[in-house]
């Protein structure tokens, strides 16, 4: 441990001690990169304030857990990251079962807004003093007092049908009129409701109602599926970055259970993750073009993207849902004889991507539409905890591949692309730069690809009661998976945070004072992925019995999604 890290750690301990004023605080190191504090719930706000505002830690996510079946209370865990020190700081508090309340930290950590509302909805722990405690993710007609992530809630429970569910929206100020964007709207691939308050063409306010797409993935993970079945479901969290979620989940379990992943598997994971970034950024460029009417960009980037999808299909048998990840490594090797094909496709994609990049960079009208539009200042990026390209386009150099290295990124570190423009144009430039960088990374990983096994041999049961946080830099930003292991061959709690969850919270700030014409492209510039963000709530309508989702059924489920066309 170097001295700088030691100093920061000393500062953390000092701050916690100062703010807890003699109350008992237990500090433990569950993993070498994870410092866990168990503190009184009355201290939560003050310590979070110290971490976030004094020590400049970044807020990642909150996890609410129903520990009552373990003989405990409700656990509320706030996850922070000290990026430079490559450290996770976990703040945990217990809320008694008969009085499920904790102090809200949203007042001091604005980025915790949704996270706290989510555990309020799902676990039923009320964040006291939350500035906006409206319902976040449960349907509007969901009965009061029914909390789906509590252990006594059966995963296949069906609430009675209610007819009159309406979202609770903020009042419209005098003089403004409402322009609804959604729940169904041309540029929204999935349902989401953005209620724009406009005066003429100018936006004076924005209220959102999201989470129309809950699928109950977390609930299935801790009640129905087993450890090695979850990667298949995790892969279906997102229609684009499936490998990212399955890899992130597997890493969390591997970390919790101390499983060493073979080096070759880590390299192949890197290759697949970067291939996903390549096709995702090309997809995004096309969609961004389409949003501002530039369909030529859409058609050309998607044409360029297609060979990458074929490549993924050649490697894994599927364009998108690769089914490669498993706890301890991979289920499928990357054959060495595919290397020439990979390199050739990469060369072709690179050549055409450069042509597209030059066309885009030189387009004056495109710049006119995107410069100084959708501005997110460095301060708002920090306070709302924006991640990924929107953060890097505002000069905040965070990237999970560097901050918390995983897979093979410690051996082949990426060069982080940042911009200072804070606007949509900067986000375009960042993503185009990352596209090129990903091509380089795949090449590097291929040339350094070691031989060896692709999966660790796991002889023992995964021990219960271990927890770990894992992050993966998805194309849209940092995806976070938290896993707490359970006793019945499945996690006790599995928490997923997709990057869009953080970035969508910045939308009101980004569209403020813009015009109606700027809203779609501003939303697009955050590259929101709604199905990723909304993964919580589903009900099995078929049976009351416990149901194991088998491979054929999962395939059927994924095909059903394909038919619906919601491929994002």
């Amino acid at each position: 441990m170097n001295t700088e890290r030691g100093q920061v750690l000393a500062a953390v301990h000092e701050m916690v001690a100062a703010r807890s004023a003699g109350a008992s605080v237990s500090a433990t190191w569950p993993h070498p990169d994870t410092l866990h504090f168990l503190i009184d719930k009355k201290l939560l706000r003050s310590v979070a304030d110290g971490l976030f505002n004094q020590l400049q830690a970044r807020f990642l996510i909150s996890v609410g857990t129903d520990n009552r079946t373990l003989g405990g209370d409700f656990g509320i865990l706030h996850v922070f990251s000290l990026d430079r020190e490559k450290l996770y700081i976990l703040l945990e508090s217990r809320a008694p079962a008969d009085d499920p309340r904790v102090d809200s930290i949203t007042g001091v950590v604005p980025g915790a807004d949704w996270a706290e509302r989510e555990f309020q909805d799902a676990v039923g722990v009320h964040p006291e003093g939350h500035p906006d405690p409206r319902r976040l993710l449960l349907p509007d007609d969901w009965p009061e007092g029914v909390y789906p992530l509590r252990r006594d809630f059966p995963y296949n429970f069906r609430p009675p049908l209610a007819e009159k569910g309406r979202p609770e929206m903020r009042a419209t100020p005098v003089g403004a009129s409402v322009l609804p964007m959604g729940p169904f709207f041309p540029v929204l691939e999935e349902p989401a409701y953005f209620r724009l308050l406009v005066e003429g063409e100018t936006i004076v306010g924005c209220d959102t109602r999201l989470f129309y797409n809950h699928r109950g993935i977390e609930k299935l993970g801790d009640s129905v599926l087993t450890y090695n079945e979850i990667p298949f479901l995790a892969e279906r969290i997102c229609g684009i970055c499936g490998f990212i979620h399955s890899a992130c989940y597997c890493q969390a379990v591997e970390k919790a259970a101390d499983i060493e992943v073979p080096r070759r598997a880590r390299y192949i994971r890197t290759i697949m993750l970067e291939l996903e970034r390549i096709h995702s950024h090309l997809l995004w460029l096309g969609i961004a073009g389409h949003i501002i009417g530039f369909d030529t960009v859409l058609m050309q980037t998607w044409r360029i993207r297609e060979p990458v999808m074929w490549l993924c299909e050649a490697i894994s048998g599927n364009r998108k849902t690769y089914g490669m990840n498993t706890i301890g490594g991979l289920r499928r090797d990357l054959p060495n004889d595919m290397r020439p094909q990979l390199l050739k496709t990469l060369a072709d994609v690179e050549k055409e991507a450069i042509a597209v990049r030059d066309a885009i960079i030189g387009d004056g009208v495109l710049r006119a539409r995107t410069e100084t539009v959708g501005v997110l200042t460095m301060e708002s990026v920090r306070s709302v905890c924006v991640v990924g390209p929107p953060a890097r386009a505002s000069g905040v150099a965070i990237d999970a591949r560097i901050d918390h290295p995983y897979a093979a990124y410690d051996e082949i570190p990426p060069r982080i692309v940042t911009q200072e423009g804070c606007d949509i144009w900067a986000r375009v430039v960042v993503r185009v730069g990352e596209l090129m960088e990903s091509i380089r990374l795949v090449r590097e990983a291929l040339s350094a690809l070691p031989e060896g096994p692709i999966c660790a041999e796991i002889r023992d049961e995964i021990p219960p009661g271990k927890a770990a946080v894992s992050v993966v830099e998805a194309p849209r930003g940092e995806a976070i998976h938290y896993v707490m292991t359970g006793g019945d061959n499945r996690p006790y709690r599995w928490r997923v945070r997709a990057p869009s969850y953080a970035n969508l919270q910045a939308l009101p700030a980004a569209v403020a004072h813009g015009t109606i014409a700027d809203v779609p492209i501003t939303l697009g510039s955050l590259d929101p992925c709604f199905s990723c963000t909304e993964r919580l709530e589903t009900i099995d309508r078929r049976t009351n019995a416990v149901r194991i989702y088998r491979r054929s059924e999962l395939m059927e489920m994924s095909r059903g999604k394909g038919v619906r066309g919601g491929a994002r």
Binding site: L179, F185, I292, G293, D295, T296, V365, R369, T515, A517
Partner: protein
């Protein structure tokens, strides 16, 4: 009497060309767009099928009222009136001294009627679209007027046929070239093509004034837009690019038809290589364009 009959026939000719040719040209534009997108694209006859299908559909209305129902046919009618005042291969059937002024008003009618459609349909998107349409019309009309005024100044006449005749016999000039370019860019906006398809902007306001239109009414409005782009392209070709001028309808009409296609393909090309501007950017653009149109007038004054 016979004279009246001939005029009626010529009117029918222009109306027929405008109505029947406009979907074909739109189809060719779509085909070109597809080619530049690396797509195959629909067959060139697709716009005819689109119209046929829409005309056969149920007429669903978001609001009642005679005004709402009668606006689409009126809009198409206004564009057909414009067609009879536009020279197509020869002098316009309805030509008279000062017809240029009347033509400008008739040309504005189509936009106003589509705008009213939007305002009458009671949707917030249509409302935003219609106000954008109004702002676009207000910024584009001066450019159209200035461009035609240059022609009028050169020919010392407010009649379109004398402008055509003057340009045909005197050959190109700097002032007419600038005015023609300005007219072309105004045509881009009038045709609702990128970067100026702001009033419809599918991704922002779901088609603007058209959002609540369906079936036969949508067919008529689409037809109105395709016809308007064709007729205005004819106007551009006849006033600013009348060469070669054979003096016989049988030769001049096909020649104009080909030139119009070339102009519209250029419009389509600009459409393919541009994203959409914001309304304030487009208004600023046309304000500058109108100013440069004035320089054409200055050139015309010094006889260039």
């Amino acid at each position: 009497m016979i004279h009246g009959f001939v005029i009626a026939l010529l009117c029918l000719l222009n109306v027929g060309i405008a109505l029947l040719l406009s979907p074909l040209y739109e189809g060719i534009l779509r085909k070109m767009k597809a080619a530049l997108h690396s797509r195959i694209g629909p067959p060139v006859t697709q716009p005819y099928w689109d119209l046929l299908k829409l005309l056969g559909k149920e007429d669903l209305r978001s609001v009642g009222g005679a005004a709402y129902a009668s606006l689409p046919p009126l809009a198409l009618g206004s564009v057909l009136l414009l067609a009879t005042m536009t020279p197509m291969g020869g002098a316009a059937p309805l030509s008279f001294a000062g017809d240029m002024i009347v033509l400008l008003y008739v040309a504005a009618m189509g936009a106003v009627l589509i705008m009213l459609c939007g305002f009458a349909s009671g949707s917030p998107y249509a409302y935003v679209g219609s106000s954008r349409e109004m702002m676009m019309a207000l910024s584009v009309e001066p450019t159209l007027a200035i461009a035609l005024c240059v022609g009028a100044f050169k020919a010392k006449s407010l009649a379109l046929y004398s402008m055509t005749a003057f340009q045909a016999s005197n050959g190109p000039s700097i002032s007419m070239a600038i005015a023609g370019l300005a007219f072309f860019l105004a045509l881009q906006a009038q045709a609702g093509k990128l970067p100026f398809d702001i009033a419809e902007a599918d991704q922002e306001i779901m088609g603007g004034p058209l959002v609540e239109q369906s079936g036969p009414r949508l067919a008529l409005l689409r037809w109105t837009m395709w016809t308007r782009q064709l007729v205005l392209a004819f106007l551009l070709v006849e006033v600013f690019l009348p060469w070669p001028h054979f003096g016989a309808l049988a030769f001049d009409l096909p020649a104009s038809g080909i030139k119009v296609l070339a102009v519209l393909l250029l419009v389509g090309l600009v459409d393919v290589v541009n994203p959409r501007l914001r309304i304030d950017q487009a208004m600023g653009y046309f304000a500058r364009l109108a100013l440069s149109g004035l320089s054409a007038l200055a050139f015309a004054v010094i006889g260039k």
